[in-house]
C-alpha cells in the first residue's frame, strides 16, 4: 500500500493572471506535484549533490571548531578544501572538488562585480576560524571573565568565548547561513541572471538538457537553490518532516516554524520552491519569478526574525536578578552571526539586501562598543534598540519575533 505514496500525485493548478488592464487575460496550466519530485521521460531530473556535499562539510567543520586539538591550518584547509586532500572524516568529502570558501560571498548578483567586499567577507570567516584556535583553545580550561577568554556555563552546556564574550564558532556558522547558504540561494540561483543565463530559457523551452543529464540548465539551477535548504533532509522530496537536518538554514526554518507567530512559514518556503520548479517545467517564467520572490521574502525573514529573537532573549537573560551571562552571550553570538547574515538577504523585486554591508558593519560595531570588554559591558538598551531597528525593516513585528 505504501507504494501509492510514490505515485506522482499531480495537482493541476490554474492561474488566472489578471494584472493586465487591457483584457489580455491568460490561463496558465502547471502540474504541481505533491512532493519535490520531477521527471523527464521517466528519469529523475532533480540533482543537488554539490549542495549536499558543502552542507556535510559544514557540519564537520562545526564539530572541529569545538575540538580543541584542531589546528588553525586544519580548519582553514577544511573550509578551503582542495580535491583529494584528507581534511574530513567522510572520505567522500575528501574526494570532492567542492568547498565552502569558494561559495562564500560568491553570488552573481551581489559579488560578481564586488570582489573587494567578497575578499573582506571571506577574510572575516578565515579570521574567525583562526581566532577559535589562537584565542579560545589555549583557554579551554580557563574560566571566562571580562577581558579573559575561556569557558562559561549556559544551563547544562558549557560555552567557549573570547575576551569580549563572543563564540567564534557561532559567528562562523551563523554567518555562513547568510554568506553562503542564503547568498547562493537568493542572490545567485534564484536570480534571473543565473536562471536565464545564456540560452537557458530557449533550451528550457525546447527541452534541451545538459549533456549527459536529464535536466535542463534552468531546472538544475533552481534545484541547486533547493539543495542549499534541503540537501541533508532524510527525504529531500518532502523535507519538512525533519527540519534541523543541518546546522545552517534548515535548522532555523525549523526554529521559526516552531514559533506560533510564524507557523506555516516552512510550508510556504517549500511550496514556493516546488511550484517554481513546476513552473520551469511548464515554461511559465512569470510564475517562477513570483515564487522566487516569495522565497526571497521568507528566507530573508528567517534571518531577520532570528536576529531579533536572539537580541531580545539576551536582553531578558542579562536583565534578570541574577544575570545569566553564559546563556546571554551564547544568544548574542548566534545573533551576531544572523545580523552578519542580514547583508545577504534580498528584498523581493529589488537588487537590495534588507541591510547593506555598511549598515551591518555599523550594527556589529555598536553591539560590541558599550565598554572595553564587549558583551560583558553591553547595555540592555543597545540590544533592545538594535532589535527594534532590525524588526522595523521587515513585515513582522518586534513582539512576534521576540519569543
Amino acid at each position: 500500500m505504501n507504494k501509492l505514496l510514490f505515485l506522482p500525485l499531480f495537482l493541476v493548478v490554474l492561474f488566472v493572471s489578471c494584472d493586465n488592464n487591457d483584457g489580455d487575460d491568460t490561463t496558465i496550466q502547471i502540474s504541481n506535484p505533491a512532493s519535490y519530485t520531477f521527471e523527464r521521460n521517466g528519469n529523475n531530473t532533480v540533482n543537488f549533490n554539490g549542495q549536499t556535499t558543502r552542507l556535510q562539510m559544514g557540519n564537520e567543520i562545526v564539530k572541529a571548531l569545538l575540538t580543541p586539538t584542531t589546528s588553525a591550518e586544519q580548519l582553514n584547509a577544511m573550509y578551503g578544501h582542495i580535491q583529494g586532500a584528507s581534511n574530513f572524516q567522510d572520505a567522500n568529502l575528501n574526494a570532492s572538488d567542492k568547498n565552502m570558501r569558494s561559495k562564500t560571498a560568491a553570488s552573481v548578483d551581489f559579488f560578481s562585480a564586488n570582489t573587494s567586499n567578497q575578499a573582506l567577507i571571506r577574510a572575516d570567516f578565515d579570521a574567525w576560524l583562526s581566532a577559535q584556535v589562537v584565542e579560545i583553545f589555549p583557554n579551554w580550561q580557563v574560566r571566562a571573565t571580562p577581558g579573559v577568554a575561556g569557558q562559561i556555563p549556559d544551563g547544562s552546556a558549557t560555552r567557549y568565548i573570547n575576551s569580549k564574550g563572543l563564540e567564534f564558532d557561532q559567528l562562523w556558522t551563523k554567518g555562513l547561513i547568510g554568506a553562503l547558504v542564503t547568498d547562493q540561494i537568493l542572490n545567485n540561483y534564484l536570480s534571473t541572471a543565473v536562471l536565464d543565463e545564456g540560452s537557458n530559457r530557449a533550451d528550457n523551452d525546447a527541452d534541451i538538457t545538459v549533456d549527459g543529464n536529464s535536466y535542463t540548465n534552468m531546472e538544475h539551477k533552481w534545484d541547486e537553490a533547493y539543495g542549499y535548504v534541503y540537501g541533508l533532509n532524510a527525504n529531500a522530496a518532502n523535507p519538512n518532516a525533519d527540519l534541523g537536518a543541518d546546522d545552517f538554514l534548515n535548522k532555523y526554518i525549523g526554529r521559526v516554524e516552531g514559533d506560533d507567530d510564524f507557523k506555516g512559514i516552512a510550508d510556504e518556503i517549500f511550496q514556493a520552491f516546488k511550484l517554481g520548479r513546476a513552473a520551469i517545467v511548464a515554461k511559465e517564467y512569470e510564475v517562477r519569478d513570483e515564487q522566487a520572490a516569495i522565497i526571497k521574502l521568507k528566507i530573508s525573514e528567517i534571518i531577520g526574525i532570528r536576529s531579533v529573537y536572539y537580541l531580545q532573549q539576551a536582553k531578558n537573560l542579562l536583565g534578570q536578578e541574577v544575570p545569566d551571562f553564559g546563556a546571554a552571550f551564547h544568544d548574542i553570538s548566534e545573533g551576531y552571526g544572523f545580523i552578519y547574515s542580514l547583508q545577504f538577504t534580498r528584498k523581493p523585486n529589488s537588487n537590495e539586501p534588507y541591510f547593506s554591508k555598511a549598515e551591518v558593519d555599523a550594527l556589529l560595531v555598536d553591539l560590541m562598543n558599550d565598554g572595553p570588554n564587549g558583551l560583558w559591558d553591553v547595555n540592555l538598551s543597545t540590544l533592545e534598540n538594535m532589535a527594534t531597528a532590525i524588526a522595523a525593516r521587515f513585515e513582522f513585528s518586534l513582539e512576534e519575533a521576540s519569543e
Binding site: 579551554w140 574560566r143 562559561i152 544551563g155 547544562s156 536578578e321 541574577v322 548566534e334 519569543e403
Partner: protein, 373 residues
C-alpha cells in the same frame, strides 16, 4: 495589613455610549485578599533556610564519614560513608528546587547533581592529577553522581571496591574525592551563608505581583524543577519518554542501583510539602500555594484545585511506590510499562500547576524549552 490585594476581579462598567464620561465600578464582594509577603516569609523562614541548614549538616556528616574511610579503608567505613552519602543525597532532594538567588548565582543544582556522571573523564582527570572542578565543563564529573561511582561503581562488591582504595592509584582516588567533597562543601556553605546574610530579606521583601517579584519567579522555578528535574530527569529521560529509547544508565544513583525511587519520592514529598507550606522537620504549615488557591477560591470542574493537586501528588506517590527500582524496571522490562504508567501519574501534576494554578494566581510562565544548541 490589607496592603497587598491580588487576584482582584474587577467588574468594569463603562458608560460611554453617549457622553464623554466614564465610570468604573468595582464589585467589592469579588475582592480576594491574600498576603504574598506572609507566604514568602513562610517559605524562607520555615522551609528554605531550615532545609538548607539541614543539608549543610548532612554535608558535614558526609565529610566526617569520608575522613574515617580515608584514614582506614575498611568495609565498615565504606558502608558508613555510603550511608552518609545516601542521607545527604536524600536531603539534597529537599533543596534542589530552591534554584533562586544564591543557588541560581552559582548554578548549585547543576554543580551538585549532573547524571550520568562521565566516569571515563573522571578516570582521566584523576590519573592526570590536574583538574579544576569549579570549571563548568567539569560539572559532569563531580557532586553526588561522582561519589556514587567511587563508592558503588568501582567493583562488583565491597571487597572489590575496597581493593581499589588500596591499590597503586589510591592516592589519586582519595585526592579526587577530596576535591569533589571540598567543592560540594564550599558551594553549600556559600549558598546557606548568602541566604542568611542578605538574600532572605531580598526574597521576602520583593513581595509584589510581577514577572520579577519573588512569588512569580519562584513559582516558575518550582514548576521548572518539577517538570524538568523531578519528572523528566529522574523518570522521563531514563524511560526514553522523549526519545523513544530507554537509557537505564541515566537513572539517578545508577551505580547504587536500588535507590533512585527513594530519591525520587523524597523529591516528590518535598514538592508536595512545599505546595502545602509545610515547615521543614516540623508538623506545622503556613501560608502556601495551597492556602493561596483556597483564598482565591479556585475550583476546577466544581472541585477545589488545592484538593485536586494534592490528590494527584498522592496518586503519583502511590504509583511510584509500587515500582521496583527504576534501574531494574527499565533494564528488565521491554517496554517498562509499569514505570510508564507511574510516569503518567507524575506527569498529570504538570498541567495542574503550570496551567490551572498559575492562571488562578495570574502568574505567567517564563520558561520555554531551551534552544538546544
Amino acid at each position: 495589613m490589607k496592603k497587598y490585594i491580588f487576584g482582584v476581579v474587577f467588574i468594569a462598567l463603562i458608560w460611554a455610549c453617549t457622553s464623554e464620561n466614564e465610570e468604573v465600578a468595582v464589585d467589592p464582594d469579588t475582592t480576594v485578599s491574600f498576603e504574598r509577603a506572609a507566604m514568602l516569609s513562610n517559605w524562607a523562614d520555615n522551609i528554605i533556610i531550615p532545609s538548607y541548614d539541614a543539608f549543610a549538616v548532612e554535608i558535614t556528616a558526609l565529610n566526617t564519614a569520608y575522613t574515617s574511610f580515608k584514614s582506614d579503608a575498611t568495609i565498615t567505613n565504606l558502608q558508613n560513608f555510603r550511608k552518609s552519602w545516601l542521607s545527604a543525597y536524600k536531603m539534597w532532594q529537599r533543596v534542589s528546587m530552591f534554584e533562586i538567588g544564591p543557588a541560581e548565582s552559582v548554578g548549585l543544582r547543576l554543580n551538585m547533581n549532573i547524571y550520568p556522571t562521565d566516569t571515563q573523564k573522571i578516570d582521566g582527570l584523576m590519573t592526570s592529577g590536574t583538574y579544576d572542578l569549579t570549571l563548568s565543563s567539569n560539572r559532569n564529573v563531580k557532586g553526588f553522581p561522582a561519589l556514587d561511582y567511587f563508592i558503588n561503581g568501582l567493583g562488583v562488591d565491597d571487597d572489590a571496591i575496597i581493593a581499589k582504595f588500596k591499590d597503586e592509584n589510591k592516592q589519586a582516588r582519595f585526592g579526587y574525592i577530596d576535591a569533589v567533597l571540598a567543592n560540594m562543601t564550599t558551594l553549600t556553605d556559600n549558598v546557606v551563608a548568602a541566604w542568611k546574610s542578605s538574600y532572605r530579606n531580598v526574597f521576602v521583601s520583593n513581595n509584589g505581583a510581577s514577572a520579577t517579584a519573588s512569588v512569580d519567579r519562584f513559582v516558575n522555578d518550582y514548576i521548572f524543577y518539577y517538570e524538568k528535574f523531578l519528572r523528566a530527569g529522574k523518570m522521563g529521560i531514563p524511560l526514553g519518554v522523549f526519545t523513544g529509547t530507554p537509557i537505564p544508565k541515566n537513572v539517578e544513583a545508577y551505580y547504587e542501583g536500588q535507590i533512585s525511587n527513594e530519591l525520587f519520592l523524597e523529591g516528590l514529598d518535598a514538592t508536595q510539602d512545599f505546595f502545602n507550606g509545610k515547615y521543614f522537620g516540623v508538623d506545622q504549615t503556613g501560608e502556601s500555594l495551597a492556602t493561596y488557591l483556597d483564598a482565591l477560591n479556585s475550583v476546577k470542574n466544581g472541585e477545589d484545585l488545592n484538593k485536586i493537586i494534592n490528590a494527584q501528588f498522592n496518586a503519583a506517590r502511590t504509583a511510584v511506590s509500587a515500582l521496583g527500582s527504576f534501574r531494574s524496571e527499565i533494564e528488565n522490562n521491554t517496554p517498562p510499562s509499569a514505570m510508564f504508567l507511574a510516569y503518567d501519574e507524575v506527569q498529570k501534576i504538570v498541567p495542574l500547576l503550570k496551567v490551572d494554578m498559575v492562571s488562578a494566581m495570574s502568574i505567567s510562565i517564563d520558561f520555554v524549552d531551551a534552544d538546544g544548541d
